[in-house]
Amino acid sequence: MIVAIASGKGGTGKTTVAAALATVWSRPVLAVDMDVEAPNLHLFLKPETVAATRTCLEVPMLDVYLCQRCGACADLCQFKAISLMGSSLILFPDQCHGCGGCLRVCPEGALSKGERELGTVELGFTASGIPCLTGRLRIGEAMSPPLMTKVRHRMHAIADRGTLDIIIDAPPGVSCPAMTAVQDADVILLVTEPTPFGLHDFRLAWQAFTPLGKPMGVVINRSGLGDDGVQRFCREKGLPILAEIPFRRDIAEHYASGGILTDLDGAMAALFAALAPELERMAGQGGDASHA
């Protein structure tokens, strides 16, 4: 089964929850950091990297001597990665999504496969043997979904071979990167905080993920802070609140020093030990759990 840990707002505790869940998971599990723009799950799980693969996207290269400036490629490209400007064909490889359509429609064979580096995909293992997969976007790369897709393919290859469960630490937000991260999940765990900002972005996340028809559960972090708006929203939408992590200084200190919450005290260990089977149960309900 695959759990994606997501949120609308950033900094709500996705990684805190992902790291803790990975350590108490009863079955063999693969931890995946899908926040490729700012991966940080490794700061807590501390895997030793065994393989780092440079990952590229296929982008077009132009042979200016073969090109007849017919514009077929530029007409096809929805992303303006190719533009016919007057009598010059100009390529913007940064804009390319790698569909390969331009190579197919060129009647002259003037376009060939080049590559744009997206970043690296790293595989490592924690001291207790948990495999960890991390995508790390190249600095300057504008699009994260292409690298995330490479991470997803690698993730499925690893998990299928060893029949591992998967815990995905998703990026914040509700745009393409967040949607890309949760699309393989059997259950989405939304981490939020009980503040007006938390509720605002939590509502956006709920709106964005609801059409996927996946079961969703909620963890409220920094519980005791703010107001009861998130609780009321969850009741209204029938979203189960699976756990509440209290707003406490010792928790913040433990996190800030790179600790995993299950190591803090017995209560935290018990909280995550109870959360894991609850997620498995929800994933088992499959796509029929509707929160609409």
Binding site: S83, L84, M85, G86, D94
Partner: protein
């Protein structure tokens, strides 16, 4: 300051006349007013096709300008990709033109008060 005299000057515009304000954005500009500097005739080119794009608005806007036969552009800011596209098509660019009407921008250009850009304005 130029080898070829500029005749068709484009200004990013919030409206269709010389009395409208310069739109400081290039890619997401509402449109362009093309001014014939000899006859002072104006022509409005809508930029809606670029405004609605998820990405590549600046490049689309540059294509719209090439199609309109503009030789130079006055605007607030042009991004790096759009600038290279414009320069590749020999369209010269002035940036930093904003908080004035299109007519004032044209007068400023004719009085030689603007300098050509050699880099993106971000």
């Amino acid at each position: 300051m130029t080898a070829t005299p500029i005749r068709r000057l484009a200004i990013t515009s919030e409206g269709t006349t010389l009395a409208d304000l310069v739109d400081p954005r290039f890619g997401r500009a509402g449109g362009f007013l093309i001014v014939d500097l000899e006859s002072m005739a104006t022509e409005y080119v809508d930029n809606g096709s670029a405004q609605v794009r998820a990405q590549g608005a600046g490049i689309q806007a540059a294509e719209n300008l090439v199609r309109a036969g503009a030789q130079a552009l006055l605007t607030g800011q042009v991004g790096p990709k759009a600038l290279s596209a414009l320069l590749a098509c020999h369209i010269r660019v002035v940036q930093g033109v904003e908080n004035m009407t299109v007519g004032e921008a044209v007068a400023g250009f004719q009085a030689g008060r603007f300098a050509w850009s050699d880099g993106p304005g971000y």
